[in-house]
Amino acid sequence: MEKKKTFSMNYYLRYLLFGVVMSLLPVLTNAGVIKTSWLGIIGGTIIYTIAGLGLNLLLGWSGLISLGTAGFMGMGAYISAYVTGDLGLPWELGILLSVVIPLVFGILIGLASLRMEGLYLGIVTLCVSEVLRKTFDELEPVTGGFSGKQAKYPKLLGIFELDQKGTFILLVVIMVLLMMLTYNLANGQLGRALHAMRGSQVAAQAMGVSLLKYRLIAFSLATAYASLSGALYVHFIRFVYPSTWTLPVSLVIMALIVIGGLRSVFGTFIGALIVYAMPDLVLKNIPVIGDINGLSYVLSGVLIILVVLFYPGGVINLFYKLQSLFTGKRSAERAVETAAGVEENRTEEGHE
């Protein structure tokens, strides 16, 4: 978004710094500053962030709804567990296959989506997710059925065998790389094309944006991110059950990007912290309240509705607001809510 030269340095530095800070967490656990159990939770947050980045490209940038995230995460997890476990192939190959195979399905859905009104898309992706979930139950030779499937921590290049902390750092590295890639994509020609497609399909087409091509790109990216995050999940948590990959996971990932901030890369991570990590790290430690079942769902649900109704920029916008208090600047990125206000009026007209 920014045009100044200094910013491009600034920008790499920002992500690098973020990565370094995150990588320090295992060191802090060694020093006894934070609990070891936190690593698992923050690791989960990273995995959800990766899937969330993909869904953000789809829902945030392109305005296409998908409830299939959990299905593709599961697919990635099972494929990687099968390839590395049953077939005994290297971890890298497992990751590759667990991204490529779901990608084929993602492309098919993208193709199908072109023929559908936007409102059908949520339903169709829900069906796909349901088909995948049932397949996880039934395809026992690959998925292990209801008893689930085991996997190991990654062994990089066949030499470096990682433990939990090593895997955590690997997760951080992959997440930061993906955040940078996403940021670059979203702020270049491709991102603008997705924006244009969301803003107005007719105008996008008139400007030469092929709906086929960009819907396919959006679906492929979302699928690839989701299945990658699933594959990382299975090598971090080290087991996988079919009952994990149900609609609530898709809902949580949608919740985190909406709450964190649609169309925001850092917002996705902040959303994951709020939706995924906060209940485990904070709520559970509060007496009485922490014992209430389902509290985190209710909080997420309420936050989603509040954000959509009153604060479309998401929580990340708070940070930008604070920042602009200090710098006194008001740039395009930081005034999302004005734009959203205008959009509201437009749809009102659109119904006529």
Partner: protein
């Protein structure tokens, strides 16, 4: 595509031949023919519901005409029939349009909205963009400079970093016009460019349409209700009513044409 002879006189840019389109039995456009010459400002007028926007949509392929041809001389100088070509391929030939109700991306900055107009001119691959390879970065920078130039030309360079959705209507219309200039168009189609503008803004619009033609060496086709504007800036005008051709000629010819007067009878000339 080339079963018929695709011939046009050398000074012509666009040639509509026997264009018709039906909507469930209703003939929205009926055997319409006209041609537009290079560097001309051409107006399409008609009473409400005459099918003006439908003609636009047929030219830009949002609607498939039932019959007829839309011949266009592309940037490369080839003559092509646009009928049946994908909507998103039309801009590559040098034909770009605006919309009646300004279709911008509200959440993007003014500059980024203009950059959407340069979509087809980006050559670097998605991967190169994702990795910010030097080529992709240079290209992005070049396009940004070009977009800034266009905004400068439209007189709204100061607003380039503002969110498009927050801008007043007049500015949004200018942004949309700026967006059409990014692709180096041969023919710009403006759908009611003066609708919703006040007198001063309309005056400015007339000037900037002239300037666009001079600076970007292009042809302009516009649909407009504001008769004063049309009569003022158009070199030639085609009048239609209920999808049928009424008359074509210079503003003064159109004003004195009995068919046109009849079609507009009962309607004030400058209702807008």
């Amino acid at each position: 595509m080339s079963e018929n002879n695709l011939s046009m006189a050398t000074e012509e840019v666009l040639r509509i031949e026997h264009l018709s389109i039906n909507f469930g039995g209703l003939k929205a456009v009926d055997d319409l023919s006209f041609e537009i010459r290079d560097r001309e400002i051409f107006g399409l007028i008609g009473p409400n519901g005459a099918g003006k926007t439908t003609v636009f949509n047929c030219i830009t392929q949002f609607y498939r005409p039932t019959e007829g041809r839309v011949l266009f001389r592309t940037k490369e100088g080839r003559v092509e029939d646009l009928v049946g070509q994908p909507v998103h391929s039309i801009i590559r030939k040098g034909l770009v349009r605006t919309f009646q109700n300004v279709e911008l991306v509200n959440e993007l900055s003014v500059l980024d909205n203009v950059l959407v107009g340069a979509h087809i001119d980006f050559k670097s691959s998605g991967l190169a963009q994702a990795l910010r390879l030097p080529g992709a970065r240079r290209e992005e920078k070049k396009m940004r400079e070009k977009a800034q130039e266009v905004l400068e030309f439209m007189g709204i360079a100061a607003l380039q970093n503002e969110v498009a959705g927050g801008q007043p209507y007049g500015v949004r219309k200018k942004v949309e016009m700026a967006r059409t200039l990014m692709c180096g168009p041969k023919l710009i189609i403006l759908d009611e460019p003066a609708a919703g503008l006040n007198d001063v803004e309309t005056q400015q619009l007339a000037e900037s349409i002239h300037q666009v033609r001079e600076k970007y060496e292009c042809t302009v086709l516009l649909v407009e209700h504001d008769m004063r504007l049309v009569m003022n800036i158009c070199d030639r005008i085609c009048a239609i009513s209920f999808g049928k051709f009424l008359a074509c000629g210079t503003p003064s010819q159109i004003q004195s044409d009995p068919h046109v007067q009849e079609a507009y009878l009962g309607e004030k000339e400058d209702e807008a």
